[in-house]
Symmetry: C2
């Protein structure tokens, strides 16, 4: 039997505990597939005394997790601590410096520091793997990096945040409002006490920026993701979308395009979209994630599965460990960091599409005329308009407009014309309609 691959595991939350359980439960199979045993040697976490329901007695304990990187009896550091900086980043840097392979589930760290870490790992000839950072148990990074490796990926998009998808599909099923469903999700443990990262789209933007770099061959650029979340959606939006044949999903989307000078530019956006009911993403419910990649030879690929949870995330971490055990190094972003293009963000003004605009307006004469005049003056062509009174809301009225296809700049201009109007009692909400 070949020498075991020796692991130091930092972070013993649900995912860390899941990794320990999985390595134990599927040990024989994992050894077969890896070609050698995968053995945890040392573990570390903030609180040693906490009862995690797993036996840690056979592992060395390190109080200082960043010191694990220096252990001579370790081949791979598995970082499951979380946080874009702090101890996680220190540990990751130390691990590579000490010549260890690095496996992490930390999307925030990869979104912020992935290129620097990958460059360090590549220079040292070490594996750096982060399948668990995007879409939980779905092997989508491997699918893009290797499975679809022959393709120019023309567009990649998907449902990347299980919390938002749970909230949206529950709103859809129950007709309840956002705040109400969020509260329940928090009680059920599907949403954090501070849900900002999830519901404002930041978590999805972390994942999208990682996907975009791999799929588009572009230097990772989290800061340029145009990000909005789902916290402003109300039950009426869901109902309106439903009556038009759509469901609402938080979609992360990336693609490259050429500007007038011929330079390649990167478009990255996280936003709620209206998804037509006959699109595969419309059937992705609950905490499920799904990613669509459109390649110039493979056509449209869909990867779907559990986007979070200890089991699925542990599955992705251990898949990375099996790759490391098999000597699979590979470029973390599919091509060497030096070959990733530094792309300017794409403008969105010329992007053609249909859009859903929702206005909350005062219930008085002339408001509709004001809205429609702004649309006309900006050149926005209206396909349908629905006005619904909400008498219980003190005379507020919702007006939902679906536009004909047109450039985004016209919608932006219409909203500029309406900016500051006393008729609007809340900022307008804009969503894209996803093409089939």
């Amino acid at each position: 039997m070949a020498e075991p691959l020796r692991i130091a595991l930092a972070g013993l939350g649900t995912v860390g505990a899941g990794v320990i359980r999985l390595l134990e439960a599927n040990r024989t199979l994992i050894t077969s597939r890896a070609g050698r045993p995968i053995a945890i040697v040392a573990v570390s976490a903030r609180d040693r005394s906490k009862n995690r329901g797993i036996d840690l007695s056979t592992f060395a304990w390190e109080d200082d997790m960043t010191a694990m990187a220096a252990r001579p009896d370790v081949d791979v550091v598995v970082e499951l601590v979380g946080g874009s900086d702090g101890p996680a980043l220190t540990l990751a840097r130390n691990a590579i410096r000490e010549g260890k392979a690095l496996v992490t589930a930390n999307k925030a760290m990869i979104a912020h520091h992935g290129l620097a870490l990958a460059l360090a790992a590549e220079t040292a000839g070490l594996p750096l793997k982060f399948e668990a950072a995007v879409a939980g148990g779905i092997p989508v990074l491997k699918g893009l990096r290797e499975g679809a490796a022959a393709n120019v990926i023309e567009r990649i998009y998907g449902i990347l945040n299980g919390t938002c998808n749970y909230i949206l599909s529950t709103m859809e099923d129950t007709g309840r409002d956002f705040g109400d469903v969020l509260k329940e999700a928090q009680q059920l443990g599907y949403a954090e006490a501070d849900p900002t990262f999830d519901v404002e789209g930041i978590d999805a933007a972390h994942k999208l920026s990682i996907l975009a770099a791999i799929a588009c061959g572009a230097k990772l650029d989290f800061a340029s993701v145009d990000t909005s979340g789902i916290s402003r959606l109300c039950a009426a939006d869901i109902a309106q979308a439903d009556s038009l044949g759509y469901v609402i999903r938080l979609i992360g989307m990336a693609e490259t395009e050429r500007d007038e000078s011929g330079a390649r530019r990167l478009f990255q956006r996280v936003q709620p979209y209206l998804v037509p009911r006959d699109h595969p993403l419309a059937h992705v419910d609950g905490a499920t994630n799904a990613v669509v990649a459109e390649g110039n030879y493979c056509g449209r690929l869909l990867f779907q599965g559990a986007g979070a949870g200890d089991g699925p995330t542990a599955s992705a971490v251990v898949a990375d460990l099996i790759d490391v055990a098999r000597g699979e190094i590979g470029a973390p972003f599919s091509v060497p960091v030096g070959e990733l293009e530094a792309l300017e963000p794409a403008e969105s003004g010329h992007r053609m599409g249909r859009r859903y605009l929702r206005f909350t307006v005062a219930d008085r004469p002339g408001v509709l005329a004001e809205l429609t005049a702004a649309m006309r003056d900006a050149g926005v062509s209206i396909e349908s308009l629905i006005q619904k009174g909400r008498p219980e809301e003190g005379g507020e009225v919702l007006v939902a407009i679906v536009t004909h296809p047109g450039p985004e700049s016209q919608v932006t201009e219409a909203l500029r014309l309406l900016d500051g109007s006393p008729s609007l009692t809340a900022p307008p909400l804009v969503m894209q309609l996803l093409a089939k």
Copy 2:
């Protein structure tokens, strides 16, 4: 720049031509991802003079394709000839004997000879890859072998034949009968002149047996796949399923179970299933393929995309070539052939489930009583029964029965009781209802 990976390509049909075009179109990207150029050195096909719309002048031509394996200027043989035996198999064996890597899209050859070829390749330390043999452009073998490598796969099933799925979804959309839609599919090039391999489920069974070996860690056993096709389905079955909330899809399914002695057994079946409309596979239309893998840690994974066509199949072939260029060897069936278990086929009699039974009966008194008595005597509990006359068919009547959950053996017994009855004007048709 590292040395190129040198290819001999046998078979210049649509897929072979697609591989040549893809390697040319995405050359820069492929070189980046592979870490070195991938260069075709020699090609071979039956007819040298045929105009394929591609420039072959820069490649050496071999009249005898099996001789390509012996060329000293070649690292990899790509076999795109097809057929389970004959020149394809000779070429494959020669390639491995001559120390070449082998990449193939040939499902029939892998289903029949995959274990022997894999053993030879493993013994010689050579890569043998066949991603394109299953589900066209979908990287599902890599997804199982590597992406879900940490999991015991408890069940794998999916839509594996694009021709059948095209026919079924067209029958669904148009209400037309099987023979009529098949004829159209043949005219459109979606079905072969001799459609037997596709419509009788044999092609799907080839693919299922490959998936099952990888997913279940079992020795490949094509001969034991319980196979039936779609040629006996009629428009009334589709309509009946629809009224019950189902669509009909040809599903390949494999899972392992324990028999009374505790031995692991392999269940493999290709059959039309009634798929509930809220199941992800119910939305897979046209020539699309989709595979669901249920792992004990990752949960349910879905891989979906184009199951055939020159572009998607070429995408899978070139992904294999990129892996070979990167030095990725790996066990073709995820674990070494010697570690695959030789599993006896599972009995199906004890399998619990709901079923759809369709009888074509003579339109005369007492027939329904005879059918329902047989059900009662066999212990089959009827959930619903629909009788529909087809006056234009000369007094024939269709009776569709949906059963309550029960063991398959009861249904088999009911059919045995009815066997030879003059009331039945055609053999009964049985379909499983897929659980959600």
